[in-house]
């Protein structure tokens, strides 16, 4: 009977790591992702490490506002008005990453609660909640976000709220489908037989079992949210023109795009690279939680 006993939770973790690390693109994605995170953390806690004095503002240089091509002094060149692009991107990542996290996690929490409730309670509540999410689905997200943004006034808070409103239905649907299958599992039945209340079953049994796939979904979504967030900033939803943000940064060089394409390319690349890295990492994580791919 002592078989498998030496294999602990520990070894399961090791197995998960093995699965993840055997996927080279996922590891590459993770490395890039971590670089972004580290940059954001440095900007938050000790920006001087990267030579930035105030990460809350772009440093303008009105003496020489015209964009300069990349040089040894400005590795990625400058953008209007005389902003050092490399430094600006490093500053902006913190804002984009922070707000995107807030949006995705907020959306996931709301969506998970709605999804689990709908699936577990079922019946009319399910019908009601799902039709409600359908409404959100049927409106193009950008339009919806702009509408909410206008209604709430242009601020970072209203943008975050707008995007959470756009994003939660995805998670509601996803957790609902996960819950529908978990709900039928024998351990839920066993919990019912043990006298567990509905709330207990939903939050102690179902929620923890939906978490791993939802976390993977979050990591996959992070990339698109950064894109959408930057897009909104790019088209002018930025309340304080001086806040470092990638979309806004890209929009600054818009008038010079033909003579100085780097002003748009580099901020865009920062966004794209981030989206790519979280997607690669998410794929790797998906393999980890999928027992079929473990052999």
């Amino acid at each position: 009977m002592e078989e498998r006993t030496e294999e602990g939770k520990y070894s399961n973790l090791i197995l998960s790591l093995k699965v993840f690390f055997s996927n080279r693109t996922a590891v590459a994605g993770m490395v890039i992702f971590l670089a972004y995170v580290v940059d954001a953390l440095i900007m938050q806690f000790d920006p001087r490490l990267l030579g930035v004095t105030n990460p809350n503002q772009f440093t303008y240089n009105f003496v020489n506002p015209v964009p300069q091509p990349p040089s040894s002094q400005y590795p990625l060149g400058t953008t209007y008005p005389g902003i050092n692009l490399l430094q600006a991107i490093l500053e902006a990542i913190r804002v984009d990453l922070g707000y995107s996290m807030l949006i995705v996690v907020g959306g996931a929490v709301i969506g998970a609660v709605v999804g689990i409730l709908a699936a577990y309670v079922g019946g009319y509540l399910d019908e009601l909640l799902m039709r409600f999410t359908d409404i959100f689905f049927s409106v193009p997200y950008l339009v919806l976000a702009i509408a909410v943004g206008f209604a709430l006034g242009r601020s970072f808070t209203s943008m975050v709220i707008a995007l959470i409103i756009v994003w939660w239905p995805i998670y509601a649907r996803y957790t609902r489908s996960l819950t529908l299958s978990i709900k039928e599992s024998v351990f839920v039945e066993a919990a019912k037989a043990a006298g567990a209340s509905m709330v207990r079953i939903m939050f102690k049994h179902i929620l923890p079992n939906t978490l791993p796939p939802v976390v993977v979904q979050i990591s996959l979504d992070l990339g698109s949210v950064v894109g959408v967030f930057a897009t909104l900033a790019f088209i002018g939803f930025i309340p304080n023109a001086n806040t470092p943000e990638l979309g806004y940064l890209a929009s600054l060089g818009l008038n010079y795009v033909q003579s100085a394409p780097w002003t748009v390319i580099f901020p865009g690349l920062a966004i794209t690279l981030f989206a790519l890295s979280v997607n690669l990492m998410g794929d790797g994580l998906r393999d980890v939680i999928d027992p079929r791919r473990r052999s």
Binding site: M1, E3, R4, L15, S295
Partner: protein
């Protein structure tokens, strides 16, 4: 059974060692298996989960997964054909095992074995739903099995039926009635109508209809002529144009259509009511027992010498299991086929087997004629297993303490030593050899060696 040794060996397994390379480690699934299968017998292969019994079945078929390394050993078909040679040549080499390389070899092996499977070997799996394709009709799947292994058989059937005349059929009928089946086959050869005999005999051998009806059915075989499209298809096939895109489609359609007729014959033979309707059904429309019959039909349609059945009744209810067991017995009686019947249920094996091999931790613990194994088991594991099976007349069950060893690091010496009540110091040191205690009865245990 009594004189096992005189029978021809159809399959011989020598010192087969297979391991699975996984992320959790290297599992030694088979650790030196020696076994033979004789013509016309049912060999029962018993063991608990993890004993390696299913792996053995897959290894014989050459159906191993990519991470299976054949470290040594041979699987000899008809005493000569070494099935696993290619994999063993790679697996026995002292290099780091690469599943991708192994996979390539397995693919090559599969191509090579395609012809062997079907003709010599066939397999029936536990869950009929997974071995049937859900989107294809049952008849199509049987037809396809023939199409891939022996398309000429379908061609012969179609052509001979198309060519035969009412006079031919009348003559053949007379031959069959007066001189018997052998003479019929000769007569068919003489008239150059090969392919017709199996169609006649499949009707003739039916038990459920009156002779007059059989005669009528046989005499009306010539009514089922080919239409022009099928004739075209078959002539395309005969000209070797079946790989040409559009023409190939025509050829395959024609042969598959013939295969449906064959499928009806097979299903009739397996005792399925309304076979003409069943061939047009999809697997999900059939009950579990019917599905398993269809799978058996696919396995035997090419008349293989050896049929390996891996837990064919474990997913079925007892009353349906009884039907399938009866079918297996009648299949054995009506042909000279050999069966390997893999099951965890010793009682089931007692019902169908001539000989039984008990597997434990990747090795054969004991093998012998069924009566001997059940009445005078010698290996402690076999004995304890017998005491642990609940039966209707037992008032006490003796559980085997402990559980099977971790196959990544099987214990030194006898793998049962950690659960064996008679364990001796040397059991932990050396692996006990197979000792023949009586004719055909072999045991791998030091206790037996001692007594001798």
């Amino acid at each position: 059974m009594e004189r096992v040794k005189e029978r021809a060996k159809v399959l011989e397994i020598k010192d087969l060692r297979v391991s699975f390379h996984t992320r959790r480690g290297v599992f030694k699934a088979l650790r030196g298996v020696d076994l033979e299968l004789y013509k016309g017998e049912v060999l029962g292969l018993a063991g608990e989960s993890g004993s390696g019994k299913s792996t053995l079945g897959l290894a014989i078929m050459g159906l191993l997964p990519r991470n299976a390394r054949v470290e040594s050993g041979e699987v000899l078909l008809d005493g000569s054909k070494d099935v696993l040679k290619m994999l063993r040549d790679y697996g026995s080499r002292d290099v780091k095992f690469d599943p991708r390389k192994n996979e390539k070899l397995i693919k090559r092996l599969n191509k090579e074995l395609r012809e062997v499977r079907g003709r010599a070997l066939a397999m029936v799996f536990q869950e009929p739903l997974t071995s049937l394709n859900p989107v294809l009709q049952v008849g199509y799947q049987i037809a396809e099995a023939v199409y891939y292994h022996d398309p000429m058989r379908l061609v012969r059937r179609a052509i001979s039926r198309n060519r035969c005349t009412q006079a031919d059929l009348r003559d053949l009928m007379t031959t069959l009635k007066t001189k018997g089946e052998e003479a019929l086959i000769e007569e068919v050869e003489k008239r150059n109508l090969r392919g017709l005999e199996e169609q006649i005999l499949s009707i003739w051998r039916r038990q459920d209809i009156h002779e007059a009806k059989k005669e009528k059915l046989i005499l009306s075989l010539d009514k089922h002529k080919l239409d022009s499209k099928d004739r075209l298809g078959i002539s395309i096939y005969l000209r070797g144009l079946q790989r040409v895109p559009v023409l190939g489609r025509l050829a395959k359609d024609a042969l598959i259509k013939e295969g449906y007729r064959l499928a009806v014959e097979i299903l009739t033979y397996l005792g399925i009511p309304h076979p003409e309707k069943v061939v047009r059904m999809y697997p999900h429309e059939l009950s579990g027992g019917m599905r398993q019959r269809v799978v058996i039909g696919i396995a035997i349609v090419n008349n293989p010498e050896i049929v390996i059945m891996d837990e064919p009744t474990s997913a079925l209810d007892v009353t349906i299991q009884a039907q399938i067991l009866e079918l297996v017995s009648s299949l054995k009686a009506s042909s000279n086929r050999s069966f390997i019947f893999i099951s965890h249920d010793l009682s089931v094996l007692a019902e169908v087997s001539d000989r039984i091999a008990i597997m434990y931790a990747g090795k054969i613990a004991e093998v012998g004629p069924v009566k001997v194994i059940f009445e005078e088991p010698q290996h402690p594991y076999t004995k304890m297993l017998m005491d642990a099976i609940p039966t209707m007349d037992k008032t006490e069950l003796k559980a085997i303490p402990g559980s099977v060893p971790d196959m990544r690091s099987p214990p030194k010496g006898c793998s049962f030593s950690n659960r064996c009540p008679f364990v001796m110091p040397k059991c932990k040191e050396m692996e006990p050899p197979m000792v023949e205690v009586s004719e055909g009865h072999k045991v791998a245990c030091f206790l037996v060696g001692e007594r001798k």
